[in-house]
Symmetry: C2
Subunit: 191 residues, 2 copies
């Protein structure tokens, strides 16, 4: 997605240790026109694949997931990382290591909003190690739903997450709107 690549090159900062700062367009500030374009592009990438529901994780997955949902006209459910007081009854829980915080983080979805037989599209901000995306996929599978695709705004291909997902048996199509192949020595090198 050319517009996104240009914005990453213009506004992205390589903070070292594989951490890409794109707070100006995804992780703190949101540009609604760019978000709309992302939603349209995800919709285009997954054209022909029936989707009943989009699954994402709070916090930074919400905006791209919602804009994709606007295009596909399906509900979004966002996995919570802390159990809110309103979350009761059957809850699906999976864990993934936190890339930026250290330690493990739980991802929780109420059984009200993930149902057996649904065709689920996962949308999130980053594909790095793939651990968060695999935890989301396991949440959907635990509910008896089928993951029909995975879309991420930015893939850091040098972290190997796509291969890790394939090796773990996740064979659904995975689309990234921008792919960063190298962040060594302060670089931000896009595919």
């Amino acid at each position: 997605m050319q517009l996104l690549k240009e914005r990453i090159l213009l506004e992205g900062q390589n903070l070292g240790n594989g951490i890409l700062k794109i707070d100006s367009l995804l992780n703190h500030q949101l540009d609604p026109r760019l978000m709309q374009a992302m939603g349209q592009e995800f919709s285009r990438r997954f054209e022909g694949i029936a989707v009943d529901r989009i699954l994402t994780a709070e916090i930074s997955g919400i905006a791209p997931a919602l804009m994709t949902a606007v295009e596909l006209d399906v509900p979004v459910v966002y996995a919570r990382k802390k159990q809110p007081v309103t979350m009761r009854g059957k809850i699906f829980v999976e864990s993934a290591p936190s890339h930026t915080k250290g330690g493990m983080v739980d991802l929780m979805v109420s059984g009200e909003f993930l149902r057996a037989g649904e065709r689920v599209l996962i949308i999130d901000d980053f594909l790095a190690s793939g651990q968060t995306l695999m935890a989301l996929a396991r949440l959907a599978m635990a509910a008896g739903a089928e993951v029909v695709g995975v879309g991420v705004v930015v893939e850091k291909s040098f972290e190997g997450g796509r291969d890790a997902m394939h090796n773990a048996g996740f064979i659904m199509p995975i689309h990234a709107l921008a792919t960063i192949v190298n962040m060594d020595h302060g670089k931000i090198e896009l595919a």
Copy 2:
């Protein structure tokens, strides 16, 4: 907003202690058509007021803020509750009591995304005690910005937040898309 009121009556649950569960439409699952309608309604309510930026708080403010931003074509910044590794340099911080978690929660915005002279519209999910909205307003004011309006999806008027804000000197227009006047004895009574 009639559609929202109908959905709250249909899907909302009164969990006691003033806690309204509307996870099916705002706090866990998002309906993109309803969200679009909310954005359009906020845009209509604040028609004629120039807005440079929308300010909200993670997590549940993001969706209504983004859909309003789509209508107004202005950027959104969402206050973070934990400082991400990417947040460096000048940071504005305010605290507010957490309604659902107990204790105080910090709200942080980078100085990169709130600027002196900007006209800021605050959008959030709930107006209850008004403490979170006042903390957001103080963030904007600390940056030298002007808060030109406050929009919330649901106001719980029986918690007195609107009066508390007026008494604290916040005289900008405040619009709620739905107002709940009473939650005693398991009721959900809308204005």
